[in-house]
């Protein structure tokens, strides 16, 4: 992106860089012009990278001690907790790390929704991001199966059984997924294999995600296109690196709080009971980060319908850039959409909450209302509001918030306050 071509100083470096321009890449990454008005919601990209690396490193160590066998898995996890040096720490970082990963990714996604980061020309970044999110859910689900506790086993049973809703071939597909006629040792083995594979697929997609980001450059809270580099940008290093480091440290304090002081609060106590195919837990619930989708699944009385709706809830996000008809990116300047955005946030939180409750009575009603709103938001609200909404005046640049309606300093200040 930088205007001037990077030239290494030493001869050796130049020789190497001519053959593999790694140093040019490094220079690009440090010089990368970044909007200077990015707020802290923009620090979650760095935080997510940290989460992924943490999961991979702790996961590799855990895999050295874990045994993927139905008779031994539970005991091997206890072996890690009791006999492996700092095994408890590594496992708690890994299990809570999954939750922190999802916490960060949800903030990252909602940031994108608020500031219109999925809109042209960033559609490909958005779609790659959604693919990462899908793989994250797959990895997290399979990881939760590995300790082979009661929730592992019954969670796996419920989720794999969803595929049996597919007409004609459903049962065959389910048997094929299991590698047996029920969730059993072959299922555990393949889940372990895939659980080890998926993070590296995610890593590859993260590289593409960042690459695609570096083509148009970052969106920003004002949501306008900016010249790069210019007065509106700062070099990524040191300005953004130090800011990301600060945000990451705050995140790590919260992370450490969970790991050291309430390491099991986000899990389910039933998962410390070894898997027993003959005893079904009273309530089978997935991990908290999958609950909104679980609520959507259960809000439909028909199994196939529920499965279709649940998958639609995710896949509808892939066409979001084309459902949103607004020419303005940032919700800061979209008074109507902004209200709907917060309704969506509340809606998803509510779905998550009712997903943890039994599917009956008031909870079922709330789940249905929440599901209907979720889809209405994307199918109706986004296209219609985009057309009808009268947006607020937009500044011409970040440094000089001269408004399209004419230069009025008080308005400019108001814009800055909002951002």
């Amino acid at each position: 992106m930088s205007e001037h071509e990077y030239v290494p100083k030493s001869k050796v470096a130049k020789w190497f860089n001519d053959r593999l321009p790694l140093l040019t890449l490094g220079a690009h990454l440090t010089d990368y012009p970044t909007p200077k008005n990015l707020n802290y919601w923009w620090t979650f990209g760095g935080i997510l990278t940290f989460c992924l690396i943490t999961q991979i490193v702790t996961g590799i160590v855990l895999a050295m001690h874990y045994v993927a066998h139905a008779d031994l898995a539970f005991a091997s996890v206890e072996h890690i907790m009791r006999d492996v040096n700092y095994g408890w720490l590594i496992r708690y970082i890994h299990s809570n790390g999954a939750s922190m990963f999802f916490l960060a990714v949800y903030i990252h996604i909602f940031r994108s929704l608020f500031y219109g980061s999925y809109k042209s020309p960033r559609e490909v970044i958005w779609i790659i991001g959604l693919m990462i999110y899908l793989l994250m859910m797959a990895a997290a689900f399979m990881g939760y199966v590995l300790p082979w506790g009661q929730m592992s086993f019954w969670g796996a049973t419920v989720i794999t059984n969803l595929f049996s809703a597919i007409p004609l071939v459903g049962d065959s597909i389910t048997t094929w997924l299991w590698g047996a006629y029920s969730v059993d040792n072959p299922t555990l083995n393949r889940f372990f294999s895939l659980h080890y594979l998926i993070p590296f697929l995610i890593l590859g997609l993260v590289v593409l995600h960042i690459w695609a980001l570096h083509v148009p450059g970052n969106n920003n809270p004002v949501g306008i296109d900016i010249k790069k580099p210019s007065k509106d940008t700062v070099p990524f290093h040191p300005y953004i690196t130090i800011k990301d480091a600060f945000a990451l440290l705050v995140f790590m304090i919260i992370f450490a709080g969970f790991v050291f002081f309430t390491p099991n609060v986000l899990g389910h106590s039933d998962n410390y009971i070894p898997a027993n195919p003959l005893v079904t837990p009273a309530h089978i619930v997935p991990e908290w980060y999958l609950l909104p989708f679980y609520a959507i699944l259960r809000s439909v009385p028909d199994k196939l319908g529920g499965v279709i709706l649940m998958f639609s809830a995710i896949f509808i996000l892939f066409v979001l850039p084309w459902l949103d008809t607004s020419k303005v990116r940032s919700a800061v300047f979209r008074p109507i959409y902004r209200q709907f955005f917060w309704i969506l946030v509340i809606d998803v939180l509510m779905l998550g909450y009712v997903g943890a409750m039994p599917a009956e009575g008031i909870y079922l009603v709330l789940a249905r209302v929440g599901t209907i709103y979720y889809f209405l938001h994307f199918i109706v609200v986004m296209p219609v509001v985009g057309y009808l909404e009268k947006t607020d005046p937009i500044p011409m640049s970040i440094s000089e918030p001269v408004l399209t309606g004419g230069a009025e300093p008080s308005l400019a200040r108001k814009v800055n306050d909002k951002v």
């Binding site: 200077k36 008005n37 005991a75 206890e78 072996h79 907790m81 009791r82 408890w88 720490l89 708690y92 700062v234 040191p238 300005y239 130090i242 800011k243 480091a245 600060f246 440290l249 705050v250 790590m252 304090i253 450490a256 709080g257 790991v259 050291f260 002081f261 390491p263 099991n264 106590s269 039933d270 410390y272 009971i273 070894p274 009273a282 902004r338 917060w342 946030v345 509340i346 939180l349 509510m350 909450y353 409750m357 039994p358 008031i362 909870y363 440094s399 909002k418």
Partner: protein, 260 residues
């Protein structure tokens, strides 16, 4: 604008959470005990752990296994911290099956600290059959495996009552106020004076229940004390580093006209 929206968000979320009491009225909340191992710097009461082990050994162990613990754990820091001699003596008091020897025969020998706790039954089926069709769960991680944790285990131990009128119980089923569904197949095994504590503590039902629950809490989380200690250090370190990085950030960003 954004701030007021976040307030609205928090409010509606709190409203949702407050709906919670609507569900599951059939279970009584367990008794809240002020355990010494609660809180950010909580540690186990060493004497209570040792007494708890005695209750486990003399009462619980006749039906419940603790297969993930080894005798050596009893002497490790953060646990009951029996002396090396005591651990050896405890281990040696059990006959452990070992083998096969060079003749291919299994044999028994006195236990060693490295042995796992001896299980009362050879397998789950035998344990189930011997206990009226209810498997006495392995107690290694029992405290982590029950909603309510230590409070719940303690409550069940002291929660035996005569069934209320209208409730009839089958043979070998007992009424317990805190058990899910109120029916439990474990009889009330604790009675005042059942165990003769080595340290002279009076062995009331309440005392024994607290001691054995403390022991089980340690068994489920033997790393708890180290975890708490390390956690405090880690958080202090991170907070200091965060302050330093924050100041560096302010300094770096002061070079340009933008706020951070």
């Amino acid at each position: 604008m954004i701030k007021s929206n976040i307030k609205l968000l928090v409010l509606s979320f709190l409203l949702l959470i407050s709906l919670r009491p609507l569900q599951s009225a059939e279970m009584v909340d367990p008794i809240k005990v002020d355990w010494s191992f609660k809180g950010l710097t909580g540690t186990f009461d060493r004497a209570s752990l040792q007494r708890g082990f005695q209750v486990y050994k003399e009462v619980c162990a006749s039906c419940h296994s603790m297969q993930y613990l080894s005798y050596r754990n009893l002497g490790e820091p953060g646990g009951p911290e029996f002396s090396e001699q005591e651990v050896k003596a405890i281990a040696a008091s059990f006959e452990i099956e070992d083998g096969p020897d060079s003749q291919g025969e299994m044999f028994t020998r006195p236990g060693k600290p490295s042995d796992k706790f001896k299980s009362p039954y050879p397998n789950v089926q035998a344990a189930t059959a011997a206990n009226g069709g209810a498997y006495p769960p392995d107690m290694s991680v029992l405290v982590k495996a029950r909603k309510g944790g230590a409070n719940y285990i303690y409550s069940v131990l002291v929660g035996y009552e005569d069934p209320p009128p209208g409730v009839t119980l089958d043979d070998g089923v007992y009424y317990n106020k805190y058990m899910a569904g109120n029916k439990i197949k474990m009889p009330n095994n604790l009675m005042d004076g059942l165990v003769e504590y080595a340290d002279g503590t009076e062995s009331t039902v309440d005392q024994m229940a607290k001691d054995v629950t403390t022991f089980l809490a340690w068994a489920a989380e033997p790393e708890l004390e180290e975890r708490h200690k390390t956690g405090v250090k880690v958080i202090i370190y991170l907070v200091l580093l965060t302050i330093l990085v924050y100041l560096s950030m302010k300094k770096i960003w002061s070079r340009i006209d933008s706020e951070v």
